[in-house]
């Protein structure tokens, strides 16, 4: 139980940091601003406290309690700063628009409740998560929680289960276990659920601020209407956190918050190796499409990127990685035409297998695309977001092409999760590029909907921080 409180402490710290330094509170609609603050707070709070815990375990193993006091001091300092500089509450000028937006909000809550009930059954049946949870992510958390020299076993070359993988999730779970004085299975369960909530909040809030309230709620529903995504939450793998960081980074770039976007992209790189590819693609696409933001995005990404590079270059140097063992002899593998067809076929069947019965998570998106259609004034956003998704898929394709492992085994054990990681970014790319229901005269525009509709019609920049 105490471990759970420390997980929530990290969320509170992240939320206060975002509230104080990013300033979403000024965005409209208000509910979306709070969702953004919560989503960014979860992602940033977990990432930041994980990094601090890991670095202090590494640098000052003899002073195990220093990170907790540092976090408390930071929380008190930020809390006091917010209290000291508090302003009168802004008068919200947004109403919910009309009845349908209220119904959409209720639908999101219903879908979340249904998903949570299903997950509760999974948590009870499999509290330790699926295979990779206890053989990789939470195993390394147990090492990190030990402290001293023994914590270095989390990346020991003799550890059979991917000692070269990044440590954001493992270090956060270890942090909560250490602070809570118990290695409770509730901590990794709560961590994965918090990331789902963050992903939901970022998608709904981000789309609502960028486009319209209804698209925001529909984006949240689309996340909760993807069984493949939801199924990964109780698995306790790092794919949902990675998907959350990737979608968050993309949305914050679109929202003209490149520093925060860069921070989240770098945290993706500290979550899973695929995040390293995302970080490179993210910065390259930002340079290509949003050149004036690239320096700030790079500055945001720099601190955690240094940690990732140091980890890979120093701590796990020489430990075989998927890429490292795939490069020798890759020329002979890329010359085999059958591998291309095999991978293409697997991508197709992997996408098809996101279905559950007659349902496929693409159906709601197709309904919206068919009726709302793409907004030509949002072409740049579509190219930017869709380009990131396309390059990520191309990167995954290349890795499969050159892998020295058995290709069938590699595809069967990983492709489904790679698609889950990217799915939120796909949803953002689609939904951010559609015309808004509000702009299509589905009801009299509310006070809150008008500015967004105007923004969309003029293709003005996304809202800036006020």
């Amino acid at each position: 139980m105490a471990g759970l409180l420390w997980a929530l402490f990290a969320v509170a710290l992240g939320g206060l940091l975002v509230y104080r330094f990013v300033g979403f509170a000024a965005l409209q609609p208000r509910w979306a601003a709070w969702l953004l603050t919560f989503g960014a707070g979860v992602s940033l709070g977990i990432g930041l406290t994980s990094v601090v815990f890991f670095l202090l375990r590494l640098a000052l193993p003899a002073v195990p309690g220093i990170s907790v006091w540092l976090e408390i001091a930071l929380l008190v300092g930020i809390g006091y700063e917010i209290f000291r500089t508090r302003k009168p509450a802004a008068v919200g000028n947004t109403k919910n628009g009309f009845l349908l937006n209220l119904l959409l909000a209720c639908a999101v809550l219903l879908a979340l409740a249904v998903a949570t009930i299903a997950m509760a059954g999974a948590w009870e049946a499999n509290p330790w998560g699926n295979w990779d949870a206890w053989s990789i992510w939470n195993l390394r958390a147990r090492f990190l929680a030990t402290g001293g020299e023994l914590s270095h076993r989390a990346w020991a070359p003799t550890l059979g289960s991917h000692p070269e993988y990044p440590l954001l999730i493992s270090a956060f779970v270890a942090r909560c276990w250490v602070y809570g004085h118990s290695m409770s299975a509730a901590v990794p369960i709560a961590t994965s659920y918090l990331y789902l909530l963050a992903l939901l909040s970022l998608t709904a809030g981000g789309l609502a601020v960028l486009r319209s309230q209804s698209l925001g709620w529909l984006g949240g529903l689309a996340i909760l209407g993807t069984p493949a995504v939801l199924h990964e939450v109780p698995a306790q793998y790092a794919d949902i956190p990675l998907g959350c960081y990737m979608a968050g980074a993309l949305l914050f770039l679109l929202l003209e918050h490149p520093v925060l976007g860069g921070v989240l992209a770098s945290m993706a790189a500290w979550t899973k190796d695929e995040g390293l590819l995302f970080l490179a693609v993210f910065l390259a696409m930002t340079a290509a499409f949003r050149g004036r933001q690239v320096l700030r995005a790079g500055a945001g990404a720099l601190p955690v990127s240094i940690l990732v590079i140091a980890f890979k270059a120093v701590l796990v140097r020489g430990t075989p990685s998927l890429l490292g063992v795939s490069v020798p002899g890759f020329l002979s593998r890329i010359e085999v035409p059958g591998r291309y067809w095999q991978i293409i076929g697997a991508f197709g069947s992997g996408f098809a297998s996101m279905a559950s019965g007659w349902y496929h998570p693409l159906w709601p998106v197709l309904v919206l695309v068919f009726v709302l259609r793409f907004d030509r004034t949002r072409r740049q956003d579509l190219l930017f977001s869709g380009g990131i998704c396309a390059l990520m898929l191309a990167g995954y394709f290349t890795i499969y092409l050159i892998t020295a492992n058995d290709l069938m085994w590699q595809l069967q054990t990983s492709l489904g999760r790679l698609l889950v990681q990217l799915w939120p970014c796909f949803l953002v790319a689609f939904l951010v590029s559609l015309r808004t229901p509000e702009s299509l005269g589905w009801a009299p525009l509310s006070a809150g909907a008008q500015p967004q509709a105007k923004r969309a019609s003029r293709n003005t920049k996304a809202p800036r921080r006020r």
Partner: protein, 146 residues
């Protein structure tokens, strides 16, 4: 599939219908997940019995120091799913003790057996002496001093 924002459609009913349909379809997805996850968990409730390993290794943990680096010996076919699951779940429960998948080159070796057997004899080819049998297929071997 590209629309023109400058000339908004005057078909609010179709737009409303599309939004409602998209929302209902997503809800359908959430309920599909509920059905899928429930039957999945009924079929695969702790399939590798990770939870059971905590009590199975309790006495072993008390005996072996946390900083131990141990060899490993099992009666399961190397590389099989069952062997990997037994090794992985043992490593998870015993951490921070470190297991290496070979009995060679270690003073202490964990014997993790799926079936009852003559564990004493199983250790002999590797120069291992049975130090303690904890029951339930959990055995501590020690390298014979020469």
């Amino acid at each position: 599939m590209i629309g023109n924002e400058a000339t908004p459609l005057s078909r609010p009913l179709a737009v409303k219908a599309a939004v409602v349909l998209a929302a209902l379809t997503s809800l359908w997805g959430a309920f599909e997940y509920l059905g899928f996850e429930s039957s999945y968990q009924r079929q695969y409730a702790d399939p590798y019995q990770v939870g059971a390993q905590f009590s199975r290794f309790e006495a072993f943990q008390a005996r072996v120091p946390e900083n131990a680096v141990m060899g490993y010996l099992t009666d399961l076919a190397p590389g099989s799913v069952a062997a990997e699951a037994m090794f992985g779940s043992a490593q998870y429960v015993l951490a921070p003790r470190l297991l290496e998948k070979t009995p060679a080159g270690h003073d202490l070796v964990l014997g993790n057996f799926a079936k009852p057997g003559d564990f004493l004899t199983l250790g002999l080819p590797y120069g291992l002496r049975l130090e303690q049998d904890f029951g339930n297929g959990v055995v501590l071997f020690r390298k014979e001093s020469r």
